[in-house]
């Protein structure tokens, strides 16, 4: 069942971004009681450089500062010579153990030629890891990052985001290392998990002692693989779910994952960083349990090898709107699971919404006047803490926009 509620989202202004252009908030994480946000800005003026910034927020003082800035190549320039779906900027922002357990803020910065992993143990001073050779041309394990069982797992950038390299290199790949500073990365899986249709690893999450990898497959539907990372790499992986949970190519990818009340929730849809295929359908939410049993939370009723699947929420795909094609983010706190749902078509994004549930089945849409800002284009990031929810996305301003006020939204 769907309910709706008017909620007051407080805006946390982002003065750094009040310039004409497009500003994409790509990820956010708390580190040493400060909020770090990765943003890429593409100015309206094509001659002005695009910049990837890492911003830090002091919650008490309500103050922002830029702790890292880098010039990035522009996808618009590249697209003149070849299709290039990769959105350059920040791929991942994570807290990782570095050098034998010291916690560090790690960020992967993408650009066409030089993918980089930068890290900082104090949030002030950043170091870049040297480029490494993982035997894939121009690919480095600097995409998605995830620590698990004293290993650091990473997706190579080429395989993850660049449509051309996906095809050249073939297949979803993962690498592991004990310490990224050593540069000793080893393959963590067989290429594509043994399936040439498995093109991309979209997400990594650990659940009940297993590391789960969400793998995009546009030819047969997404797959979900898991490992306990026992023994030396490459590890043994087990297929937890495939064929896009029996929706096949209409569920080509899992765009978001979160753990809530002892189940792993999957949000489907093609991430904004990738091109859409011809067939776009309303997104679904599926939950899977440690024994690999799965349930349809929101989506299309269907027969399955484990029984009739009828959406527990009684919502059809896209929360009853087939234009809602992407669950861009899922985030859970102690008691609430949130979903960022985006209306994405081949050409553009036409809207977004946030939903919440306290039982995983009955969802409530959160309305806020803040969402009506015409410059708020899309929603990308949800960060759920026990007492509040942070939400951020893409802002677009024209030179003529009066008093632009880009912001993060906070609901407490």
């Amino acid at each position: 069942m769907t309910f709706s509620s008017n909620i007051h989202f407080r805006a946390i202004p982002l003065g750094f971004l009040a310039t004409p252009g497009e500003h994409r908030i790509q990820n956010a994480v708390f580190f040493k009681k400060r909020l770090y946000v990765g943003v890429i800005s593409h100015p309206v003026d094509a001659t002005t450089t695009s910049i990837a910034r890492l911003l830090r927020y002091y919650p008490g003082a309500e103050r922002w500062e830029a702790v890292y800035e880098a010039v990035v190549e522009k996808s618009s320039v590249l697209s003149a010579t070849r299709p290039f779906p990769l959105e350059l900027g920040w791929r991942a922002l994570s807290i990782m153990p570095i050098d034998g357990g010291t916690e560090a803020l790690c960020a992967t910065l993408l650009s066409l030629r030089n993918a980089q992993l930068i890290y900082s143990t104090d949030g002030e001073h950043f170091e870049a890891l040297p480029a490494v050779d993982v035997k894939q041309p121009r690919a480095a394990p600097f995409g998605l990052l995830h620590p698990f069982q004293s290993w650091l797992f990473a997706t190579p950038v080429g395989a993850m985001s660049d449509g051309l390299y996906m095809r050249e290199n073939g297949h979803a790949s993962l690498y592991v290392t004990r310490n990224p500073r050593t540069g000793d990365w080893q393959p963590a899986n067989a290429p594509g998990f043994g399936n040439p249709g498995n093109e991309v690893v979209h997400g990594l999450i650990d659940f009940h002692g297993w590391l789960y990898a969400a793998v995009g497959n546009p030819f047969a539907g997404f797959q979900l693989w898991r490992t306990q990372a026992v023994g030396p790499p490459p590890f043994t992986w087990e297929l937890a779910l495939d064929t896009g949970a029996r929706r096949y190519t209409l569920n080509p990818s899992v765009a978001s994952m979160a753990i809530f009340q002892d189940a792993l929730y999957l949000g489907t849809g093609v991430p904004e960083t990738e091109l859409l295929s011809d067939e776009v359908a309303g997104a679904e939410i599926i939950r899977i349990f440690p024994d690999n049993r799965w349930e349809l939370v929101m989506g299309k009723p269907r027969f399955s090898p484990i029984g009739l699947q009828v959406p527990l929420s009684a919502n059809s795909p896209g929360f009853d709107d087939s234009q809602n094609t992407l669950v861009a983010a899922l985030a859970s706190s102690n008691d609430v699971l949130y979903a960022a749902v985006v209306q994405r078509s081949q050409r553009e994004i036409t809207g977004f919404q946030i939903r919440q549930t306290v039982d995983g089945e009955n969802w409530q849409q959160l309305h806020s006047p803040a969402f009506l800002n015409p410059c708020a284009y899309s929603l990308r990031v949800l960060l759920a803490m026990p007492n509040f929810l942070l939400a951020g996305g893409v802002w677009k301003f024209e030179a003529t926009t009066p008093d632009p006020e880009p912001s993060l939204w906070c609901f407490s």
Partner: protein, 298 residues
Amino acid sequence: MNTDQPLFILCPGRSFSSVVCMAIGQHPQLYGLPEIYLGIVDTLNEWFALAKKPGRKHMHQGLLRVIAQLHHSAQTEEAVLEARAWLQQRCEWSTTKLYHYLADRIAPRQLVDKSPTMGKQQNLERLHAVFPNAYFLHLTRHPRSTGNSFFRVKSAKAALKGYPDPDRLAAMIEKHWVQIHQQILQFTDHLPEGQAMRLQGEDLLETPDRYFRQIAEWLNLRTDSAAIGAMMHPEHSPYAHIGPSNAPHGNNRGFLEQPELKVGRPSFVSLTGPMEWSREGQDFAPATLRLARQLGYQ
């Protein structure tokens, strides 16, 4: 289930629909029909006209057998003659009226009908108009298996009767598979969620009890072992054998000769490689591949 909720099975020809329809129709709360062709015309007059075209005599046999069975509890030559006379006396009836007559006769059971809709949207809409609350099961089969089966049957007929041209037939097969599935998808996409479901015939044949149970659950029918067990025996249907000489068929002949459910996964086939029926050795077209993958085929 209310009295006006039959189950219609929608698919191109050669998609296991005969055995699936008769098997589902063996559920104690259902009644499986042979091919009665009421969904493609508006009146019984038009239905009588169907069989006047060459090669279409078979289109009458299913309904004649049904009326004979319902009125006389037998499918003898005499019963079939009386059934024809009964229908001729009512040739002004709309097919809607006859459909509801059949539904009333077999009540409280529900009709299960797999009559071909010829891939026309108007025929699908007609079924929906007759029974707005009907359930629709979209049954699929791999395009290669469907095509091979279709080509085998049709080319044998073509050799006998001199039509259609084998090349034309070969070109038609792939198009036919795509068009009919697209029509069905277009139709079912607009129905309320849960009124239509899709099922791979291969899955059903591999573990029929598993999917029969889910179909019964979907239709809000009994799911006990006796009910599901009955669905494993399509050969128990009164229409699962060759009929009298004046209405011998009314269903797929192969099924009528061997009506038992053959449990097991059909042989694996792939979307890759030339179509066996194509003289030029063509592969499946991109549109076919796209649709087949959407339906879960590799």
